[in-house]
Symmetry: C2
Subunit: 410 residues, 2 copies
C-alpha cells in the first residue's frame, strides 16, 4: 500500500478496543503533562500573545480559535518533555494529535470517545509516516514529532470534521506544505513549540481543505512532495496498530536514566554500600553527569537520581528536580556509592544495576502489562496535578468531553 | 560574511534612496494585486474561516491579529500570480515581506516610510537567503518564495518591532523551524497560501522571540539547521542591494509570454499577415498552447495573446483573460497568422518576433528606466483597481500609513 493510501486507511479505520484503552491512558497522561506544563510558567508570556477569538479550551485558560488552541496546548503539553514517546520512529505522538482532536471534537460537540478514536488513528498515521520517512529524515535534522506528527494531526482533525475523501486528500496536501520542525531546536523552547505547530498544522490543513483550498494531489509521495524534499526513505510500511506499545515516562528526567530507575524500583537502596550501573555507551555522554549542582543537571545524572531514590524522593515528581535537591549535602555525599560503566552488550533501552553484589535488570522494550501501566499513569498524574488527576480519569471513563475540557483549565 | 551575519546586516542597514523608490513602486503594485486578488473571490471562503480578534488591516475587510492578517494578505496578494518576481533566486519577495511589514507597522503606528524600509531590507534578506540556499534547494522542490521569504519577513517584522540583537537571532531561529513551502503546490491554491504562510511565519517568529521564546543559536547555518536540512548549497553571498532589479509583471499571463508582448508593444499588429515568434525552448512546453478555449488556457498561448494585442485587448487586464475572449471567433481566426519556433540561442528572458519580415526583440533582463517602470506600474494598478490606484499612490507619496491601509479594503 502506498503511504497516502495507508494514511487514508487509518483515517477511516475502527481502532481495536485494547489499543483504545492505551490511548485513553495517553489522554490522561497528556492532560497531566499539559496542566503541569502550563503551571511551570515558562511559556506563559508567549501564550499571552495568542489572544484569538473563540471558545476552544486551552491549558492557560484563555479562549481561542481551534487552530490556535491546538498550537498552545501542543506546546504546553510538551513543555516538560514528560509526555509519551513512540520509539518505532522516535516521536511524541500524543502532544500533537490530542490537541488537534480535542479542539475539533469540542467545537463540534462530539463525545470524548470519538476524540480518543480520532487521536488514536492520527497517532497511528504519524507513526506510519515516521516509519515511511525513516531514519535519514531524523538523522539529517528533522523532528519526527513535528513532521510526521503534523500528518497525524491532520488525520485526527479531518476525521472529526467528517471530511470527504477528496477533502482529506487536500488536507494531507496542505499539511505537506505547512509541516516543519527541526531537531536543532532541542534544548530550546523551540522544541515544545514544534509539537504545538504540528498540532496547529493538522487543524488548519483540515479546516482549510473543508473551506475549499485545493492542494497537491499527493502531498506525501508525489513528485517534489514531502518525502522527496525531506530526505524520506519511502520505506514500505504495513498497516498495523502500533500505539499499544507507546512508552510513557514515569520519571521526570532523561530517558537514559529510566531503565536504571526501573531496575531498582522495588529495591531499598537506603543501606546500600556500593552500586554499579551498567548502561549502553551512548548514554555515557548524555546522562552521566557525576556531580550536578542544578535541578536540570540532576535530570542527567545516574549518581544523583539513585541518591534521590535511596532517600525516598519521588523521581516521578517534576518538583523533586530542584536546585536545592541537587545541592542537598546528604544526597551529594551518597552519590559516591555509585559507579557507572558502559556496556555495549546492552541495548539503549536496557540497564543492569549491581547493588552490593546483587544484580537487577530492566528492559524498557518489554511491554508493561495494562493494569500496571494504568496504575503508574494514575500515580504519575497525581504527582503532577494532585487530586484533579482522578477527576480527569473519571471524565475520560464517563466519556464526558465538556467535563474533561473544563478540568484542563480549572 | 556568514549568512546569519549577512541577514542581520540587512536587518539594521539603511537602504539607499534609489532602491527605496523601486520598493515604493512594489508597494503600489502589491496593493493592487492584493485588492484584485480579494475581488477575484477564490480565497474568500477560506479567509472567512480566519476570524481572529484584532484590528490589523486585511484585503477582505475582516480585522485580525497581526500574524493572521499577514497570512491572509500574503495569500490574497499572490492569488493572481501577478505580483513582482526576483529572478536572482526565483522568488516573489513583495507578497511575503510587505504583509509582514504592514501588520507590524500598522500595529505600532509607524510611518509608511519605515514600513517601506523594513519591507525592503526584508526583501533583500530573502533574496540573499535564496541565493545562499541555491538552485538545488529550488530544484529538489522547495518554494523559494516561501522558504527564503519567511526569513525576509522575519527581518522586516523584527526591525519594525525594534528587536534586540539577541531577539532577532532567536526570531531567525524560530523562523528556521516554522518556515516551509513546496513547489508541488504549483497549480493549486497551495501556491498563494505558501506566500501567506511565509508572511505569517515572519510575524510570528518576531513576536514570539520578543515574548521570550528561545531557539537555536544559528537557525540558518548551524548543525541540523535550515540549510543542512533543506538542501542548501551554502553559497557565498556578498552584501548588495538587489531589489533595484526586481521584475514587475505587466501582462496578466505566463511569464514566458512577456518578452514577446514587450517586443511588439509599440507595433500595430492589426494588419499583420504573418508573425513568427522565436522563444527559448523551455517555454515551448509551458506557454505554447496553440488553440486554448478557456481564459486560463489563453494565459499560456503565444498565438492567443498576440491575437489579443492585435485586437486592442489589454493583456495587463486580468479580466481580459476570460473564457469568452478565448472563444471569440475573430481572435481564434487571427491566431493562424502566428507561428512559434524554439531558438536555443535566446535566454529564457529574451524573445524575437518577426512581423512581416521586420524583426522586433526584447530582453526582460534589461533594466527598465525608473520613470517608465513607474508609469507602467501606475497603468497596471489602474487596470486592476481603477481610480483607487491613484489614491494609493498618493498615500504612499504622503507617507500616510493609516490612509494606505484604509484604501486596501475600502
Amino acid at each position: 500500500m502506498d503511504i497516502t493510501a495507508l494514511v487514508l486507511a487509518y483515517a477511516h479505520a475502527e481502532p481495536p478496543e485494547d489499543v483504545c484503552a492505551v490511548m485513553r491512558l495517553s489522554v490522561l497522561d497528556w492532560a497531566a503533562c499539559g496542566i503541569a506544563g502550563h503551571q511551570d510558567g515558562a511559556f506563559d508570556s508567549w501564550a499571552a500573545t495568542l489572544t484569538g477569538q473563540g471558545a476552544a479550551t486551552r491549558f492557560d485558560g484563555r479562549g481561542s480559535a481551534l487552530a490556535e488552541a491546538a498550537l498552545v496546548n501542543g506546546t504546553l503539553s510538551h513543555a516538560l518533555d514528560y509526555d509519551d514517546t513512540h520509539f518505532a520512529h522516535i516521536g511524541h505522538p500524543s502532544v500533537v494529535v490530542i490537541p488537534a482532536a480535542l479542539a475539533v471534537a469540542e467545537a463540534r460537540g462530539l463525545p470524548l470517545e470519538q476524540m480518543v478514536d480520532a487521536a488514536l488513528v492520527g497517532a497511528e498515521a504519524s507513526v506510519a509516516v515516521g516509519l515511511w520517512l525513516g531514519r535519514d529524515h531524523y538523522q539529517v535534522g528533522f523532528h519526527q514529532t513535528a513532521t510526521a506528527g503534523a500528518f497525524g494531526a491532520t488525520v485526527a482533525a479531518g476525521r472529526l470534521l467528517g471530511l470527504s475523501a477528496k477533502h482529506m486528500r487536500a488536507a494531507l496536501g496542505l499539511c505537506s506544505t505547512i509541516a516543519s520542525g527541526l531537531k536543532s531546536q532541542f534544548g530550546t523552547m523551540g522544541k515544545p513549540l514544534n509539537a504545538g505547530l504540528a498540532a496547529r498544522t493538522g487543524v488548519e490543513a483540515a479546516l482549510w481543505a473543508q473551506a475549499g483550498l485545493t492542494s497537491a494531489e499527493d502531498g506525501l509521495a508525489g513528485p517534489l512532495a514531502f518525502g522527496a524534499t525531506h530526505h524520506g526513505a519511502g520505506a514500505d510500511v504495513p498497516f498495523a496498530w502500533r500505539m499499544g506499545s507507546v512508552s510513557h515516562k514515569f520519571h521526570a528526567c532523561c530517558h537514559g536514566l529510566h531503565a536504571v530507575l526501573e531496575a531498582v524500583r522495588d529495591v531499598d537502596l537506603s543501606g546500600a554500600a556500593q552500586i554499579t550501573v551498567h548502561t549502553h555507551p551512548r548514554w555515557m555522554t548524555v546522562c552521566n553527569q557525576p556531580s550536578p549542582d542544578t535541578g536540570l543537571g540532576a535530570k542527567f545524572s545516574y549518581r544523583h537520581v539513585l541518591a534521590m531514590a535511596a532517600h525516598g524522593h519521588d523521581t516521578g515528581d517534576i518538583t523533586a528536580f530542584s536546585d536545592a535537591n541537587a545541592q542537598d549535602a546528604a544526597l551529594v555525599a551518597w552519590r559516591d556509592r555509585v559507579g557507572v560503566e558502559a556496556d555495549d552488550t546492552l541495548t539503549e533501552m536496557q540497564a543492569r544495576v549491581v547493588v552490593d553484589g546483587v544484580v537487577y535488570t530492566h528492559d524498557l522494550d518489554a511491554p508493561l502489562p495494562f493494569d500496571m501501566r494504568q496504575d503508574r499513569i494514575h500515580v504519575k498524574a497525581r504527582a503532577l496535578v494532585g487530586a484533579r488527576a482522578d477527576e480527569i480519569a473519571q471524565a475520560i471513563e464517563d466519556d464526558d468531553l465538556p467535563r474533561f475540557a473544563q478540568l484542563l483549565t480549572s
